[in-house]
């Protein structure tokens, strides 16, 4: 299953490292990544493969939520299909 991880917040060193470490520890493979600063906010989108993940999407979401809170960014994890459904005909 593919998921989209979205990280939004105030820019500071180490955000990418922390998020990708958490994903790697849970055997989540990052297939695509893009990052930019939008309106002063750090904005990163990652497309991830959860096929071999140690955690379910729900558990991963909860773990990243905690990580986000401690890092001062907001992290969303959503099934990729919701974006395909809403934005592709």
């Amino acid at each position: 299953m593919k998921a989209i991880v979205t990280v939004i917040g105030k820019d500071k060193p180490g955000i990418i490292a922390k998020v990708s470490t958490a994903l790697a520890q849970n055997e989540v493979n990052i297939e695509d990544i893009s990052q930019t600063i939008m309106q002063g906010n750090f904005t990163m989108l990652m497309q991830c493969d959860l096929t071999n993940a140690k955690l379910s999407l729900k558990e991963l979401k909860s773990e990243l939520l905690t990580l986000g809170e401690s890092t001062g960014v907001s992290i969303h994890v959503q099934h990729e299909e919701i974006f395909n459904a809403m934005h592709k005909i």
């Binding site: 939004i8 695509d32 999407l57 959503q78 919701i82 974006f83």
Partner: protein
């Protein structure tokens, strides 16, 4: 990879614009539970609901987490209960209590279908059932009731219209300690639909499968936000934007509905495209109309703006779902929409204007509080007017009105939660008791003869 703008747009819809799936409603046929006595029937109905809907809350929570779209309500609708109670007239409330208990056991917010369909005629058991509604609503918390009194094919059952005016009054009286709250769970329809996921009017129609998932999407805030960037745009451009927004919202609903049906081993029924407001700021249908350019909802131009909104939502939604159904239109409940509440408080919207609005949208005079001393025949007159609009225009119309005991114009009633706050609205002082007391059946309109 997916487009960055699209991903962030979805996230903003949820975080800033109150986008959600308003309800996942499981329709359950209770026909196999019919027995001769009340207790047996009630016990079987309880067991069947608990078994079929056992996982609905868990599945909804899982879907919410996985897709990142909040799912606000989990509900159950059942076979119209008047069909289950024919052999134990006078003991219908036994069933009502069991249904309420089942709703609490499985953890759903509401259970709909304490209903009767009497648009053409009323049997003795249906009359007995309808008379049980006030008591049933007074002794239950989560159960909702509806009665269909007319259709474009059958005409309007004026005996039922008269009876429902009295039933609404009695329901208000039996729940007077809660400002007539029982009436917020009772709706009178014309052309009721069998697959409506929304309350209080949901029931599981006889033509439906055994267990069906119907989903109601929402998103007035998303539509409102999309229009905020369109100052000075022409009406056709506005309609186009509403269409595109409705498409996206509905696609999310379709995905959730399909996935929920699969996980709950139920048939996928329909996605209901209704724009359903809530009393929180930023989730109002009235505010969309004001964004289109009205000084206040209720003023001149309201019906036209609403007609365009309603039509554009349907056009966008229809392409987004394989099966569209339910009510599928903009809702204009007064107490459940912050913009409508404000308009009612300042006298900008009246019952007459609401009636006009119901000609072009779903669903009717909805969540309107009126003075407690409003005569039953006047309530029946309101029902008859709405039913006539539905019957002639081949659409669903409804009345959910609360004659608040002991309160009058200038007072306000608080129902709390999604049901919101309602300023008491003025009712015409001119009665119609001679008309209502005639009873009988209003013949179906000429255009019902299509064969």
């Amino acid at each position: 990879m997916l487009n960055r703008k699209e991903i962030l747009e979805t996230i903003d819809m949820v975080e800033k614009e109150h986008f959600d799936v308003r309800t996942i409603t499981m329709g359950i046929s209770l026909i196999p539970c019919i027995r001769e006595d009340a207790e047996k029937t009630a016990a079987l109905c309880y067991d069947r609901i608990c078994k079929k809907a056992e996982n609905i809350v868990k599945v909804a929570e899982d879907l919410e987490a996985e897709f990142g779209i909040p799912i606000i309500n989990k509900r159950v609708s059942i076979t119209p209960a008047s069909l289950l109670t024919s052999s134990f007239c006078g003991k219908e409330v036994v069933l009502a209590k069991a249904l309420d208990k089942a709703a609490k056991t499985v953890g759903v917010d509401f259970l709909g279908g304490y209903s009767a369909l009497v648009q053409k005629g009323m049997t003795s058991y249906e009359r007995s059932f309808i008379k049980s509604i006030p008591e049933a609503l007074a002794v239950t918390d989560r159960m909702c009731s509806s009665v269909n009194v007319g259709s474009s094919k059958a005409g309007i059952n004026m005996d039922a219209v008269r009876l429902m005016g009295e039933i609404i009054k009695e329901t208000a009286d039996k729940t007077k300690d809660r400002d007539g709250f029982g009436c917020a769970k009772l709706v009178v329809f014309c052309n009721a639909v069998e697959d409506n996921p929304f309350m209080a009017g949901a029931f599981h129609g006889l033509s439906e499968g055994e267990t069906v998932i119907n989903v109601g999407v929402s998103g007035p805030g998303v539509v409102h936000h999309a229009l905020q960037n369109m100052k000075g745009a022409s009406v056709d451009e506005i309609a186009e934007t509403i269409k595109k927004t409705a498409f996206k919202i509905t696609r999310a609903g379709q995905l959730i509905a399909k996935e929920a049906s699969k996980r709950l081993s139920a048939q996928f029924g329909i996605v209901d495209l209704s724009l359903a407001p809530t009393p929180v700021m930023g989730d109002s249908v009235a505010h969309i109309l004001e964004e289109i350019g009205l000084d206040s909802v209720g003023g001149h131009g309201t019906t036209a703006a609403l007609a365009m909104l309603n039509d554009a939502v349907k056009k966008g939604g229809v392409m987004a779902s394989s099966n569209v159904g339910g009510l599928s239109g903009a809702f204009i409940p007064v107490s459940e929409d912050i913009g409508m509440i404000h308009a009612a408080e300042k006298g900008a919207i009246t019952l007459s204007k609401l009636e006009a609005m119901t000609c072009v949208c779903s669903v009717g005079i909805d969540m309107v509080a009126v003075p407690g001393d409003t005569p039953a025949t006047t309530l029946s007159g309101m029902i008859a007017d709405e039913a006539a609009i539905g019957m002639i225009n081949n659409k669903t119309t409804a009345v959910r009105v609360i004659p608040v005991p002991g309160k009058g114009v200038g007072d306000t009633v608080e129902f709390g939660g999604l049901l919101g706050t309602a300023p008491i609205m003025e009712v015409s002082p001119y009665g119609c008791s001679a008309f209502i007391s005639r009873g009988g059946r209003m013949p179906a309109p000429i255009h019902s003869n299509k064969n």
